[in-house]
Amino acid sequence: MRILTITKRIFVEMFRDKRTLALMFVAPLFILSLMYFLFQSNTNTVADIGTYNVSSSLVKTIDNKHIKIHKMTSDVSAKKTIRDKDYAGFIKKTDGKLTVTYQNADQSKTAIIKKSVQMALIKVQMKQLVTATKKSKTGLIKMQAQLQQIKKQLPSTMSSQIPAPSAQKNMQKPTNLKLTQHYLYGKSDSSFFTTMLPVFLGFMVFFFVFLISGISLLNERNSRTLDRLLATPVKRSEIIYGYLTGYGAVAIIQTAVIVLFCIYVLSISILGSIWVVLLICFALAMVALSMGLFVSTFAASEFQMVQFIPIVVIPQIFFSGLIPVANMAGWLQVIAHIMPLYYGASALTDVIQKQASFSAVIPQFSAILAFLLVFIILNMIGMRKYRKV
């Protein structure tokens, strides 16, 4: 009963504070939309390259929709051309040697050029090999070895057709081997944004709830109302639970708004159940909440609360899946496992992108609940500072 009284009060206070309300509900949508457009534009990057003395057949093989080729008619310095014309790269052929110079100011463009040139060279080599095969059967073994090697070099996401000799039987008559790609999760047009959405979602909920709940308890302390509250027969745990329910409910609404926005406005598909997504976000918000409440014990002002963000919140982003945790150094992986957001983002990714059911994310979910339990206990201990009983 007292818990609900506190919950209700938090609701009323929150509703009357229009700015905080806007921060909770409008800011995440604004940030998500911004990210959506930022990462969307990334997929149609076009790299400008200059070429000199490169055979037109090779140029044609290099060319694709991410490349714009500018043929130079006179021998110019690669560095100078890149600098003057702001090209992403320059290809030059001298004495049968191909030299590629990268501007390397934008790594994604460098990657596009690298990939395109490599692919073109493979194609050319392949053609030569096929011709060679026709001539000599003895070259077969060598060719296979080479082919094997080339295949290894092929990037797995290569989206072009690879002409290659198929089986040994019809080796004499090479046929075109068509490459078809299947995506287990998502679609071929999955942008970076769709991949990162679960991480953003988890982070957004975590960040805003952490900040706002922490500051609200801090205000309660600084305005002395916490002392006043503790001069009533309320239990310390009732205050904590009151806050958890109040802000938990706010977090549910916030998550629902963000998820619906993603589905209907940004038209991003959520493969798993929306309810599981909401449940995970809710649990994550509760952890953020209990962490915010706990951390606020160590802050004397709102400004000091903000100072905790670089320590408590920012590092969690790095371990939330933006960088694959499995590739990290061992000790970093250990750190990842003490970050609530790591579990939250991983569970959300599984549900949103891999259509995982709730039972499949139970391990992560339990980890989140464990964090919650630890911080609730810490909070109750922290409250002892204000009243011993």
Binding site: M1, T225, D227, L230, A231, P233, K388, V389
Partner: protein, 245 residues
Amino acid sequence: MDAVVTVTHVDKSFNKKRILHDVNLTASAHEILGLIGPSGAGKTTIIKNIMGMEQPDDGKVTIFGNRMPNRQVLQRIGFMAQDDALYESLTGRENLKFFAQLFGVKKDQLNERIEYTAGVVNLNQDLGKRVSNYSGGMKRRLSLAISLIQDPDLLVLDEPTVGIDPELRRQIWDELRKYAKDGKSIIITTHVMEDAAECDELLMIREGHIITHGSPASLEKEYNVDNLEQVFLKAGKSNENSNNN
């Protein structure tokens, strides 16, 4: 008379600085006990030790026979802090209702209690306003109303009359007198001598020491003066002398 609050040999230091020195007091039912002393004397610190908001370094506090801090006992105590701890974005009525519910005031009595306590401090007309729009005196009055909300047996009021006009002050004192008659126990702090004159029992405090105590009339008689201010000055001097000896 039955002792409601007993404070025995309480010492308290903050940052190694001794603030309270061997404080002893008893507050009884049917009685208004006044703590009087200059700013910084330690009145609020005594109140906080009584409420269990601070732990004494030494000595103990008992209320209704229970050693403090004790959560259940708080149900029977109406407390008014020196600084108005109010929810600024809520209205006066919402503040009263919030605390009423924390004290478990029954639903059917809720409105009655709110109207009654607001009436004691003449705040009925302003209950719909947000506290952020209240004047300093109105906030004080609301704090006082909140301390009465659950009809407590013991009232602990830290400077309840600050910022309250003489007419309302009279009204509040009459109300407190009525509660004392009904058997409640009241502890108030003040540094105004007029308030002190209203109390049944006075404790004069200076630099954390209780320098003298007794009813206003008996104190005046004891120190052979005709007002409490003189008592305070005389008692202070004799206390200093005894300390120096």
